[in-house]
Subunit: 226 residues, 2 copies
Amino acid sequence: MYFCFMYSFTEENYLKAIYKLQEQSNLAINTNAIASVIQTKAASVTDMVKKLSEKKLLKYEKYKGVELTQLGKKIAIDTVRKHRLWETFLHKKLNFAWDEVHDIAEQLEHIHSHELIDKLDEFLGFPSHDPHGDPIPGRNGVIQQNNFILLSELMIGEAGIISGVVNHSAIFLKHLEKNDLVLGKKLLVQEISAFDQLVKVLIDDKLQQQLSSEVVRNILVKKLTE
Amino acid sequence: MYFCFMYSFTEENYLKAIYKLQEQSNLAINTNAIASVIQTKAASVTDMVKKLSEKKLLKYEKYKGVELTQLGKKIAIDTVRKHRLWETFLHKKLNFAWDEVHDIAEQLEHIHSHELIDKLDEFLGFPSHDPHGDPIPGRNGVIQQNNFILLSELMIGEAGIISGVVNHSAIFLKHLEKNDLVLGKKLLVQEISAFDQLVKVLIDDKLQQQLSSEVVRNILVKKLTE
DNA sequence: ACATATTTTTAGACAAGTCTAAAAATATTT
DNA sequence: AAATATTTTTAGACTTGTCTAAAAATATGT
Ligand SMILES: [Mn+2]
Ligand SMILES: [Mn+2]
Ligand SMILES: [Mn+2]
Ligand SMILES: [Mn+2]
């Protein structure tokens, strides 16, 4: 096994972070934002960004921010693909809870081997989504975008299937699991309190539960039309 | 997930290399030997060995060589355990050929997570041997030693089950596979040429084949007594 | 438009790990 | 036992990635 060209863990992490920031806002990506994602200092980001620019992975103009090149974006998406496939493996095959997979996948995503990731993909049956409902990019780099909406956007009387989360923190995921709010559950919105915004939902046509606005703003559902 | 204490890839590789050298000869381990295994220079080994000594992972005396401490040995064995479990996963679950697993496992063995390796072990059904017949250390660090012998040690009329290899090179493994000399096959020694040492064997009571002395000296068998 | 606050970059240092070339220690010959 | 050869260590430099503190650029308020 040899590597066409290999990027370091650090480089991949920077590219992934910039890619995610680029996705979630069309504004220029500034060094402080990157620093906060990577958990490092802005000065370090400036250094690194210069090197990535040298390597044609992104375009960098002093004081203006950065933008990934096609190549940089490809590496980033590839890293996301690996991350989500590994998360799926950990959850589906090794029975890790959905709040336990992320940190281990952060390490596994940097293993370099195309054959490995292709075979893993096949072994998992070419899954389309990871344990958190996030789409898994294909080996061509195409990401099929979800059309999920926030649970908080559902009107009274409308229903949806839990399909993803906005907040990925372990504490939130654990909380959802404890309350049986896992992927695939059907939720029917029955009542929204005018006073404290608590949302009363019916889970899978059986159990009734009250959800805080914090919770409903962080659950993504596939709206059921009918 | 947090790590009790984490050793770097490099440190783990040094410990593993020293451990393997320690196993295969009772002599003191000198820096050149380590350098040749790690694929580096003796000067670099000296530097590293000093640091590992600081960290109580090995005992080092200038010009005398090194010896692992209990802690160092534990880390090394743990790394071997991870390596062999991952090799088993790659071979059994992802259908990699036995000559393709080593290089990827060299990367995977450095993923830090006890839960991960325990769950992987369970997922694989607590295998006792890796795809090359090498024993997989238990989570307690105990390695159940093989009592395999070289195929070259079998006398005419004796039989054995292929159970391991001495040479782990991809070219040798590929050659064995091509000739159907894989783990589990039964070999009966029928003839040893006095002239060129070629060994005529009967594979699984069916196929006759001539093996070079290079081959018979690199196959390990479990002798069948009867 | 000018002063102030914020963000970003530079300068210089540090840690891990590696290298080459030279010096020191050990081993082998004669 | 001295001379030579080999092995091992040191010295000093380099790379990657990080940091702090100071300087420079940009943004904001009046
Ligand atoms: Mn994740
Ligand atoms: Mn995920
Ligand atoms: Mn191996
Ligand atoms: Mn092996």
